[in-house]
Amino acid sequence: MSVDPETVRRIAQLARIAVAEHEIEHLRGELNAILAFVEQLSEVNVEGVEPMTSVIPIEMRKRPDVVTDGGIPDAILKNAPAAEEDFFVVPKVVE
């Protein structure tokens, strides 16, 4: 499988990464090189094989569904590029 310029634009949009028009062709070449490399997997017979979900057979531990942390807005906001009172500030979302 290989990708065309339109697909590269669509992937960039899905990944929320702005890509300049002049970069599309180069990126397409790189992505296709990787896709050609992983294409080898299509020759493996995977019929009846379960996909890997946990590499070490351990049962996930659960904890009581109770609040264990919180009340630390200063710590949460400490690295915010923009914050006001106890909120993160972002550009307008709704028109």
Binding site: I17, G29, E50, P51, M52, M60, F88, P91
Partner: protein, 491 residues
Amino acid sequence: MTDLTSLTLADARERLRRREFSAAELAEAHLTAMEEARALNAYVLETPDRARAMAQAADARLAAGDARPLEGVVLGVKDMFATKDVRTTACSRILDNFLPTYESTVGANLWRDGAVMLGKLNNDEFAMGSSNESSFFGPAISPWHRRGANTPLVPGGSSGGSAAAVAAQLCLGATGTDTGGSIRQPAAFTGIVGIKPTYGRCSRWGIVAFASSLDQAGPLARTVRDAAILLTSMAGHDPKDTTSVDLPVPDYEAAVGRSIKGMKIGIPKEYRVEGMASEIEKLWERGAQWLASAGAEIVTVSLPHTKYALPAYYIVAPAEASSNLARYDGVRYGLRIPGRDVADMYQNTRAAGFGKEVRRRIMIGTYVLSAGYYDAYYLRAQKVRTLIKHDFDQVFAAGVDAILAPATPSAAFAIGEKGGDDPVEMYLNDVFTVPVNLAGLPGISVPGGLSAEGLPLGLQLIGRPFGEETLFSLGNVLEQAAGRLSPQRWW
């Protein structure tokens, strides 16, 4: 007094306890060495004030006869580990000047045991790379040169700063992370020891996530014993990481020097890849002979799906990365590049904040997870992963204690030499290390000798799940036979 930076971690620990020198003197000697070695770009942040304060506290404990296991031992920390109030960036522009309000569990375990932090170490951006060239802070440089040349070489990656710093004696040991070989390959390139433990052995909490089902933390050090000492402190169950395993942590140091008589060592025939350099082949044979001379039994084994490990990895790792790195949006922390609206801000921030390799992997991951392609790529890769793990299970079920293989297909290469137009060229470096991550197994890289050009080559031992002690015992035998490797100082 001997040069304090040339001691092994075990020696330094012992002599600190005997009060032959102070933790403050040990820290000072290393801080000076770091300053003199800035050309290597191994540290992206030196933390001398913190080092001095921690050393002072260590000296108080030593004076009181109350030394903890790593009291006064000076370490470097890969920039993938969150360090409280100390800039943590994963060597990416997108984390900007991020100051964590918490410490990673592995880091906290080391400080709990009395270790002293010297600074943060360089790595490939988000640990994505095999040469440390994708770091936003520029490449770390290997302390090694080819014989009679001064071409700058890569220290390997992604834990390139850790490897360069340990090899150049800018710390007694360092933390690393390994998703596809990022501890073992740089250890091999710089002539030191690096171990990736079994998945789940070390907590991933507070480590910047790359590919969560593959990432594991581990130590890099100049000897097998030093690596064992560090892993004993780093490992352990952590309720904050649901994939962390609740098994007692053995005293790994006790395994160093233990007899390997009667152990069965597998040589996987599929690792004899086409076009393998003859010096790598010789190194591998020599390694097998060393183990045989110490009483191990060498057997040929088969891991039939080996050739599919790299392609499976380059689906699984980017897929998980694209998901993990979705959090970098310029809202809660890190870089923000303004835009017309919030979506525009996301796109601008991520375009400016991620380097080329990271962007490439996010895009591949986004593609293989996108509607209509998930089954063909991601699901198939996870099935192939099951087959790869099954290969290893079969070998271990047949009584093999560990597998011996080369760590890398070649010695270190020059800065700028690989991965120009074809990203896959760089990926091939990890051919011997990636299967181990896919199967969640422990793997150790130990120096095996020098190449014809005078560069270190590493041997890799792959163990059963939680078979780290076996790896330390075997690694020590290889180390005794091969001898320690040290670069000639040129910086």
